[in-house]
């Protein structure tokens, strides 16, 4: 089955049109985000369709997709919880925050929970070290997170709620975050 509906194929063409004629390959990352916004990860079919839109081989698209950590080629939860543990956050207690997230999410935390809800990602510096330790839920920032707050954020996700981030609007889930990353609507 096609990943992109006819309507989304039209969206894909508009994404291509952001770049100069003959340079449509520049649409690679936004197109990969577009297929990720449909499937919650980048599947083989998604790679094939991006290749089709750009006139490339699937392997050429896969070679690019596999380079970038925000494009998820493996099974991924509906929500991705990223905990920065780089130095500035580590100095402010990030290890304990990561451990709390790991415990709360349980086994296979770094892959995907059995119910398909959550994926935990140990993140590198998120460029918000004034608010360390920093956690992102579907790339929306939560500042100065304590282990207790970390557990609350995860419990909220389990109840089907998305907590208010420290700035901006929280995406509904990882799929909507991918839609925003494709440079499409940001819901406001």
């Amino acid at each position: 089955m096609a990943v992109l509906s006819p309507e989304l194929r039209g969206e894909a063409e508009r994404i291509k049109a952001r770049y100069p004629a003959g340079r449509e390959r520049s649409a690679m990352l936004p197109l990969l985000y577009l297929v990720q916004s449909v499937e919650g990860r980048v599947t083989r079919d998604g790679l094939r369709e991006v290749a089709d839109v750009l006139g490339l081989k699937t392997a050429e698209v896969e070679a690019v997709a596999s380079f970038y950590s925000m494009l998820r080629l493996r099974p991924t939860g509906a929500h991705v919880v990223s905990v920065c543990t780089n130095l500035a956050c580590a100095l402010r207690g990030a290890k304990e925050v990561y451990a709390a997230a790991h415990d709360a999410i349980g086994s296979h935390a770094e892959e995907m929970t059995e119910d398909g809800l959550l994926t935990l990602h140990e993140e590198e510096c998120l460029g918000a070290c004034d608010a360390a330790p920093v956690v992102q839920v579907d790339f929306a920032n939560h500042d100065r997170v304590t282990p207790e707050r970390m557990r609350e954020l995860i419990e909220a996700l389990r109840r089907g709620e998305v907590s208010e981030p420290s700035a901006g609007r929280a995406p509904r889930d990882f799929k909507e975050a991918s839609w925003i990353l494709a440079g499409l609507g940001d819901g406001a």
Partner: protein
């Protein structure tokens, strides 16, 4: 209220690009214009492009992304007779650990960046510019997108900007999670739809950059300075900072300080002033152990270097670098071996894999640092670390590898006894973790 927001720190009035941070109105285009915004662009449009380049050259503005190359000189390298289009790319892929000044510049006053970008584009006769936004900056990507829309609506971007015959289209483009894309040629490959691996230079981007065409790549903070130079002149700008490092720098201060945050100070300001007067000193009144002047890729300095001036030359003379202007502060209770281990884990993760010394060397360094930290260090581990540093430094294609060596060599230089204690005692002296033992002879 955050004293920085009130603009009432009482420390300095020498601020250029953060002077409006106390005023939330400047976030939107109307408030920005009401506070004098886009006047620099209008001034530029009334000048010949060559004169804009000369003015920025004369100001001595140097790139704020790490390399410190003179901005006007960079612009002057763009050839105008190739028959190809010229591109300007703003590097907003801020990801050097400890650095968050570009993020806050966009958070608070995104039009300052767009104005600087438009002036740069006019100066090099470019009509298509890109803003490469770090993928993880989901919110900032949205801010940029909306600010670009506002600027189009008000005629500061698009066709016939401010009634002139200058046209400029700006396309925001989001990255997807790769530190190496902050390196300018890696960024160009990423923007072209490839893996973000760095390119061979020469040819330099000024001659063959994006789509093999002449390209200028500037950091966010660099571009934010440009409107002020246009408005107030080169001599005014040179009134800030030092002779060789004119202007100010927005320093990101994080880790063990009372008030982590971004602070704009004149170049050459002693670190002591930044730490004590702006960031409120070391957290909880503890003693300073170590700090990075310009992000994790710059060699750490110590309490002996409190009076070193924060500018390109002074920091180099002290054995480090200005880098991105990001001070991660460690206090006396923090373990430098663990700090080095965590940073090396970062470089090992972010190494693009192209060059063996970087790909294998960082991986090996993590293994050795981990066993030292865990109390399983061997007497020969310190020479191994020295050796690793020597065999990575300047032996890879891009500066990521050189950056990875900084935490190794600087901590070995200043804190050798701490490494030795880990190996000798068989445990981390700070956390106590490790089996514990006694080794008398530790090689050096």
């Amino acid at each position: 209220m955050d004293p920085r927001r009130a603009g009432g720190r009482g420390v300095t009035t020498d601020r250029i690009i953060t002077r409006n941070w106390g005023n939330p109105d400047v976030f939107h285009v109307d408030g920005y214009v009401a506070n004098g915004g886009y006047a620099g662009l209008k001034k530029a449009l009334a000048m010949a492009p060559e004169d804009v380049i000369e003015l920025v050259k004369g100001s001595g503005l140097r790139g704020r992304g790490g390399a410190g190359f003179p901005t006007g000189v960079k612009w002057s390298f763009v050839p105008q007779d190739t028959g190809k289009p010229t591109y300007v790319v703003c590097n907003f892929d801020e990801s050097e650990p400890g650095t968050f000044n570009n993020r806050e510049l966009v958070d608070r006053e995104p039009h300052q960046l767009l104005e600087g970008l438009a002036i740069a584009a006019y100066a090099v006769r470019c009509h298509n510019a890109y803003i490469y936004v770090r993928g993880e900056f989901l919110h900032q990507g949205t801010i940029v997108r909306r600010a670009v829309e506002e600027a189009y609506d008000r005629g500061f971007l698009g066709k016939g900007i401010c009634g002139s015959d200058f046209d400029l289209d700006v396309v925001p483009h989001r990255g997807a999670g790769a530190y190496i894309c902050g390196e300018e040629t890696g960024l160009l490959n990423s923007l072209e739809g490839f893996r973000g691996q760095p390119r061979q230079r020469p040819p330099f981007p000024a001659v063959e950059g994006l789509y093999a065409s002449p390209t200028v790549i500037n950091n966010v903070e660099t571009l934010c300075n440009v409107p002020h130079i246009l408005e107030n002149g080169a001599d005014w700008f040179r009134g800030f900072g030092t002779a060789k490092s004119p202007g100010t720098k927005v320093f990101s201060v994080s880790g063990k300080v009372e008030r982590p945050g971004n602070y704009e100070v004149p170049m050459g300001t002693p670190f002591r002033v930044l730490l004590e007067e702006h960031a409120g000193g070391v957290l909880g009144g503890k003693a300073l152990k170590a700090w990075t002047p310009g992000g994790s890729s710059t060699p750490m300095l110590t309490a002996e270097h409190l009076d070193v001036g924060l500018d390109f030359e002074s920091l180099q003379a002290a054995g480090s670098l200005l880098g991105t202007g990001a001070a991660i502060v460690l206090d006396e209770t923090d373990c430098v071996v663990e700090a080095a281990r965590r940073l090396l884990a970062f470089y090992a993760h972010e190494s693009c894999g192209k060059c063996t010394p970087c790909r294998e060397g960082t991986w090996w360094a993590v293994r050795v640092l981990s066993r030292i930290e865990e109390g399983l260090g061997r007497p020969e581990d310190l020479p191994i670390m020295n050796d690793l540093g020597r065999n990575i430094l300047f032996r890879a294609f891009c500066p990521l590898a050189d950056g990875a060596v900084s935490p190794i060599t600087s901590t070995l230089t200043y804190f050798r006894e701490e490494y030795e204690a880990h190996v000798r005692e068989g445990r981390c002296p700070f956390t106590g973790s490790g089996p514990g033992r006694r080794i008398e002879e530790v090689a050096s």
